[in-house]
Symmetry: C2
C-alpha cells in the first residue's frame, strides 16, 4: 500500500510517494509547462517507474497547489497551506520539531505558524507581487546571465558587502541591476544584495504570522544557499532546511492521503 | 526675457520655455539615458536653438522631477507635484479650469487635487510598483511586439470586449499576456485589457485624493488614446488632455521660474 501527493505548482509539478508506514519512498520534480494535466500525469508515472511501483499500488492520491483542480485523477484535493504544514510538521520531527514555516514558491511566498500538533495557527501569503517570490530570482538570474542554480555559489564569491537594492519592485529592480552592472559592480555583490532584498521581505511576511522556533524553510529557492544565509542573517536564527525542499508540500499531501485512507478503511471496518 | 523649466524624469527629460507674459514659446522631449546631467543640458540647448534663443535670454531656470538635483545649472528646484499642479492649473484655464490632475509617468503615477487658485490640496503617488505606470505599457508593448506609439490605435481595433488581465503585477501580467497570445487572442483585445487594468488602478489612486471636475490627464501615456478612453470609461467623466501632455510639469516649472524672477525683481526695486 502506497500513497501519493502531487503539488501542481505554477512553476513546477512535485510528486511524493510514501509507504504504509509514512516513510518517503521517492520524489520527483518537473517543470509545469502549459499542459498542467498531461504533465502532472507524466510526473506521477515517472516517479512510479523510478521507484518500481504500478499505478494500482497507489491506494490514495491527493492533489494540492495552484493547479490542483486540473488534476482530475486525484482522490481528493487540499490547500497548499495545509499540505505544506503537514509536510513540514512531519519532516521537522527529525529536527526536534518546527513551529514556523517559510515557503518561497515560483510565484508566491507564504509564512505559516503551526502548533505542537501540526495544526495551522496562522498564515500569511503573497501571490500578488513578484518581489519576494522565486520569480524575482529568475529575473535576476536572467539579467545577470547566470543559471538559477549558480546564484547560491555566486553569493559567497562576493568580496565586499552585499549591494543595497533600492527598488522593492521586481520590474524596477531589473533596471537597477542593469545599472549596477553598467557601473562595474560584480555579479556576486549584486546577487547577494538581491538575496538580502528577498530575505527582508520574507522576514516581514514571517513576522506577520509570528516567528516561533524552529523555522523551517522550503520551496525551490531553499536550495539556494546564498538566500538561506541571507534569511538566517535577517532572521537572527538558524533555518531548518529539509533534504528535499521542493517537495515538502507534495510529501504533506501524500501523508494526508495515507491518513485519510487508513481512517476510511478503519471506519469501513467498524 | 524668457524663463525655462526642465523636468528631469526617470524616462524622459522635458524642457519648456515661456516668455515674459507666461506664453509658451516651445517644448522639447528627449530620452533621459544614463547621463542625466549631460542630456539635460543638451535638451535645454536643443530647445533654445529650436526657438532661436540664447542661453542668456533665459533669466531664470527651475529644475523639477526625479533627477532635478543633478542639474546644477538650475537657479532653483521644485518638487514635481508642485510643478505639475502649476502647469495643469495654467493650462487648464483654457478648458474652464481643472481641479484634479492625473499624471502617469515612466516609472510613477500621481493624483493631485488643487483648489480654484491652483494650490495643492491633496495628492497621492505611486513610485514603488511598476503596475499603473508607463513601465507597464513598455513591458506590454514589448511582449506584444508593438511600438509604444501604436498601442492607442491598436486598442480601437479590438472586435470583442477588452480581455480581463487578472494579474495586478506587471511581472505576472507578462506571463499572462504571453499565455493569452498563445491561446490565440488578438493583440488589440489584450492591449485594451491592459489599458483597462491601468485605468482601474489610476482611478483608485485618484479616488484617494478625491475627484473634482475637471480632471486633467498628463504625462507621456496621456498621448495614448486607448488609455485615455479606458480611464474616461472607468472614471465616468471626460478628461482634459493638454496639447503637450508630456511637458505640463516642465511648463509649470517655467511658469514658476517666471513668477519667482518677477517677484525677486520687484522686491529688489522696493
Ligand atoms: S511592485 Fe513590481 S513586482 Fe510587485 S506587484 Fe508591483 S509590478 Fe509587480
Amino acid at each position: 500500500n502506497y500513497f501519493a501527493g502531487i503539488d501542481v505548482g505554477s512553476t513546477a509539478i512535485k510528486v511524493a510517494v510514501v509507504d504504509a508506514e509514512g516513510l518517503l519512498v521517492g520524489v520527483h520534480v518537473t517543470p509545469s509547462g502549459s499542459l498542467f494535466h498531461k504533465n502532472s500525469l507524466e510526473a506521477l508515472n515517472t516517479l512510479l517507474a523510478k521507484v518500481g511501483l504500478q499505478r494500482e499500488d497507489v491506494r490514495y492520491l491527493i492533489a494540492t497547489g495552484y493547479g490542483r483542480k486540473l488534476f482530475k485523477e486525484a482522490d481528493d484535493s487540499i490547500s497548499e497551506i495545509t499540505a505544506n504544514a503537514i509536510g513540514a510538521f512531519e519532516t521537522g520531527k527529525a529536527f526536534g520539531g518546527v513551529r514556523t514555516i517559510i515557503n518561497i514558491g515560483g510565484q508566491d511566498s507564504k509564512a505559516i505558524q503551526i502548533d505542537n500538533s501540526g495544526n495551522v495557527v496562522n498564515f500569511a501569503m503573497n501571490d500578488k507581487c513578484a518581489a519576494g517570490t522565486g520569480r524575482f530570482l529568475d529575473v535576476a538570474a536572467r539579467n545577470l546571465e547566470l543559471d538559477l542554480e549558480d546564484l547560491g555559489d555566486c553569493h559567497f564569491q562576493a568580496t565586499t558587502a552585499p549591494l543595497t537594492i533600492n527598488s522593492t519592485c521586481t520590474v524596477f529592480a531589473e533596471s537597477e541591476i542593469i545599472g549596477l552592472l553598467a557601473k562595474g559592480h560584480g555579479k556576486a555583490e549584486i546577487i547577494a544584495g538581491i538575496h538580502y532584498s528577498i530575505a527582508q521581505r520574507t522576514v516581514r511576511l514571517a513576522k506577520r504570522v509570528g516567528i516561533e522556533d524552529r523555522v523551517y524553510f522550503d520551496g525551490g529557492p531553499a536550495l539556494n544557499k546564498g538566500l538561506v544565509a541571507a534569511i538566517q542573517d535577517e532572521l537572527g536564527r538558524e533555518l531548518v532546511i529539509p533534504e528535499h525542499p521542493q517537495t515538502t508540500t507534495a510529501f504533506g499531501a501524500a501523508m494526508l492521503a495515507r491518513s485519510e485512507y487508513l481512517e476510511e478503511r478503519s471506519a469501513g471496518q467498524d
